[in-house]
């Protein structure tokens, strides 16, 4: 009962806390305020811990990990993005891109908090460890793809400022073009590998669990189409030596495709690939 109360509080609080975090990162980015600069890291770490606590409490309260609905997966994706950004910020010491990446985490968490439902009765197969690996890999894959797109967008913004000799806040505060391109590429490769793992696990596990399994299932086809698209993109980059603006546009197009495809597929009622 107490756990459920905490879940109810956190489901409302998280979007507001994310709004605060994005605001702090936004002020640090646009105003370069020293006090806010000092505040943003502890705030981010505290919020990440709180978000993980929320996911843990949710698992305990409803007796299943939050992977059964789109909105449960969205909060998981939001936490994964925050975690990925924490890793990136500490690993590279590039502290000025949080506004953009955490902004995406805020959007996912807000949508999740508004629409999430408390499911207590779920099918037995949702307790499977394999499903946990499958969903985790898919989440990491989509997190990588999303982060690659954000860095791609930042690259294009900076590219435009440098090309047009309009040196504004983007020019002042972002890291250089080469770094943004490298970060986008690494996130994309990471996302692609994670997505590959999710697909392989799914292809082995799903036919055993679902009687109505079909290789023509929209979600399966959509995911494989996304995988093929990224495979072609990464291969072209390697083989044809594509660099710079063109590849960043491709990262954004890929992300847009993923977003639209996933939205359409998840709304589609014909898929067996829904876990509730």
């Amino acid at each position: 009962m107490v756990t459920k109360t905490f879940v109810d509080i956190l489901v409302v609080a998280l979007p507001f806390l994310y709004t605060g975090l994005v605001t702090v990162y936004g002020i640090a980015f646009f105003r370069n305020a020293v006090t806010v600069e000092r505040l943003k890291r502890p705030y981010m770490l505290a919020l990440l811990v709180l978000h993980l606590v929320y996911l843990g409490l949710r698992t305990v309260a409803f007796d299943h990990p939050p992977i059964t609905t789109v909105y449960e997966i969205m909060t998981l994706l939001s936490a994964a993005m925050t975690m990925a950004y924490v890793y990136l910020e500490f690993r590279t010491n590039i502290r000025n891109t949080g506004f953009f990446i955490l902004g995406l985490a805020l959007i996912f968490q807000t949508v999740s908090s508004v629409f999430i439902k408390d499911l207590t009765v779920i099918p037995e197969y949702l307790h499977s460890l394999v499903l946990g690996f499958h969903v985790s890999a898919a989440m990491l894959g989509y997190t990588g793809i999303s982060i690659a797109a954000v860095y791609g967008l930042l690259y294009l913004m900076l590219y435009h400022e440098i090309k047009s000799s309009r040196f504004g806040v983007i020019y002042s505060r972002l890291p250089n073009l080469e770094t943004l391109e490298t970060m986008s590429h690494k996130a994309e490769v990471f996302g692609f590998v994670a997505l590959s793992v999710a697909i392989v696990i799914g292809l082995f596990w799903l036919p055993r669990v679902f009687r109505e399994f079909s290789y023509l299932d929209p979600k399966l086809v959509g995911t494989i189409a996304i995988w093929v698209l990224y495979a072609i993109g990464l291969m072209s980059k390697r083989r044809l030596g594509w660099q710079g603006r063109k590849t960043m546009i491709l990262a954004l197009v890929g992300f847009a495709f993923v977003f639209i495809a996933m939205a359409v597929i998840n709304i589609s009622p014909s898929s067996f690939h829904t876990f509730h």
Partner: protein
């Protein structure tokens, strides 16, 4: 406060005057000794291309400004061309304020100069090595260096290039992550082009190629900076292998055309190419800007960066002024406490002297086993008597609220208990 500063700077004197007054390390050492001998209890000298300034704590409250100036002029034998009105003088708070402004970089010719703080630090170290510093100058320099550090960490006063050549290097750093893995080509060995390539070399550029119509000049530059010489006729070919190109050729027509670059970009796998055209008239056809991953800048666009950076630096001035004000308050709070600390010590000493005299006189009246107790009790009485006046004195100096009031209390206490007066009378 007996602080005094005198000197010349770019505000008061032209470069030829400043040159005459510039002090080498050896000359500065001589001047420091002479200043200490004749005028100051503590002192230091800052001498750079833009300023020669003396800071010191006067031996007496008053100073013969003309004599200090004369000492400096004599040290440099600079009577000709240097007039007394080339010098500025500051006293007390104004001298502290001036030194803080210098260290902050807002008194420099180019606002936000980052070198000046190191120069002030070196001047401080030099004064220390020559044993001409004391508690006040030491504390003042700590505060000065703190101002400089705060300005650099809490504001963006020193950020952004403010010369064309540095602006080019700044732009290169916004395109490429690691300049040590990039190659640069200098076409033509004009002054600004040469300066730009030197800045790039200073940033650790991987390799330098130089092409010049007069090959000997290119070879001379290569001998200085390292790298290789490229035939002037081969420059378009060289574009395939370099990432940064600086052109500074005196040519009536464009040396690099868009068709050259389309072909080059294909050959180099569309790797970004950064072109800095410093030539007047321009050396690279501006239509090349449209080519993807080609970043072309001319003098106008580089000047725009410089102007923008200067504007941003000026916008930081209020924040810098606040830091200076805060540090001045801190410094003067400490300085006021200096007046209190000796009074406290003197008062303790005076009371202790009376106690010891009285105990010595009367100690034989007590039994041996009680004498330790007598010591203890008399000490306690003295401490209790002093507690209230000393607390008030400390409080006044710590909260910094009553500068004149604290000074007044010090004065009254000294008069009431004859501190200072007695010693003078004894002398």
């Amino acid at each position: 406060m007996n602080l005094f500063s005198v000197g010349i700077s770019h505000h008061t004197a032209s470069v030829d005057v400043r040159e005459r007054m510039w002090l080498s390390a050896d000359e500065a050492a001589g001047v420091l000794s002479a200043l200490k001998e004749h005028f100051f209890a503590e002192c230091m000298v800052v001498s750079t291309c833009n300023r020669t300034e003396v800071y010191g704590v006067l031996r007496d409250g008053d100073v013969d400004e003309g004599a200090v100036k004369r000492l400096l002029l004599d040290a440099k034998k600079a009577d000709e061309g240097v007039r007394p009105d080339h010098f500025f003088t500051h006293h007390a708070g104004a001298a502290v304020h001036h030194l803080f402004k210098v260290a902050a970089g807002i008194d420099s010719m180019v606002i936000g100069d980052i070198q000046i703080l190191n120069q002030v630090k070196e001047a401080f170290q030099s004064a220390g090595e020559h044993h001409v510093l004391g508690p006040i100058m030491n504390r003042l320099m700590q505060a000065t260096l703190h101002v400089g550090k705060r300005v650099r960490t809490e504001t963006t006063l020193c950020e952004g290039a403010v010369s064309v050549s540095y602006a080019a290097v700044e732009l290169a750093s916004k395109i490429f992550a690691d300049l040590s893995r990039k190659w640069a080509l200098l076409i033509g060995a004009g002054e600004t082009g040469e300066l730009t390539i030197k800045h790039l070399a200073g940033k650790g550029i991987g390799h330098i190629k130089i092409a010049n119509r007069t090959r000997a000049k290119a070879e001379a530059l290569v001998a200085e900076l390292g790298g290789t010489v490229v035939d002037f006729e081969q420059i378009v070919d060289a574009l395939r292998t370099v990432d940064i190109v600086v052109t500074s050729v005196n040519s009536p027509s464009y040396v690099v055309q868009p068709e050259h670059l389309y072909s080059v970009m294909r050959q180099r796998g569309n790797n970004p190419l950064f072109l800095i055209d410093i030539g007047v008239p321009r050396n690279i056809n501006p239509a090349s800007r449209k080519i993807e991953n080609v970043f072309l800048y001319d003098m106008d666009s580089l000047n725009a960066i410089v102007d923008r950076n200067l504007e941003k630096r000026n916008a930081e001035l209020p924040r810098v002024t606040t830091i200076i004000r805060q540090e001045m308050v801190e410094f003067f709070r400490w300085h006021r406490s200096l007046q209190v600390a000796p009074t406290i010590q003197d008062l303790h000493a005076a009371f202790e002297q009376v106690r010891q005299q009285e105990v010595e006189k009367n100690i034989n009246r007590f039994r041996p086993e009680d004498r330790e107790l007598v010591e203890l009790v008399t000490r306690r009485i003295v401490n209790k008597l002093l507690h209230q006046p000393l607390s008030m004195l400390k409080e006044g100096s710590e909260n910094g609220s009553g500068g004149p009031e604290t000074i007044n209390r010090v004065k009254v206490l000294r008069e009431l208990f004859g501190i200072g007066i007695k010693s003078k009378r004894d002398e």
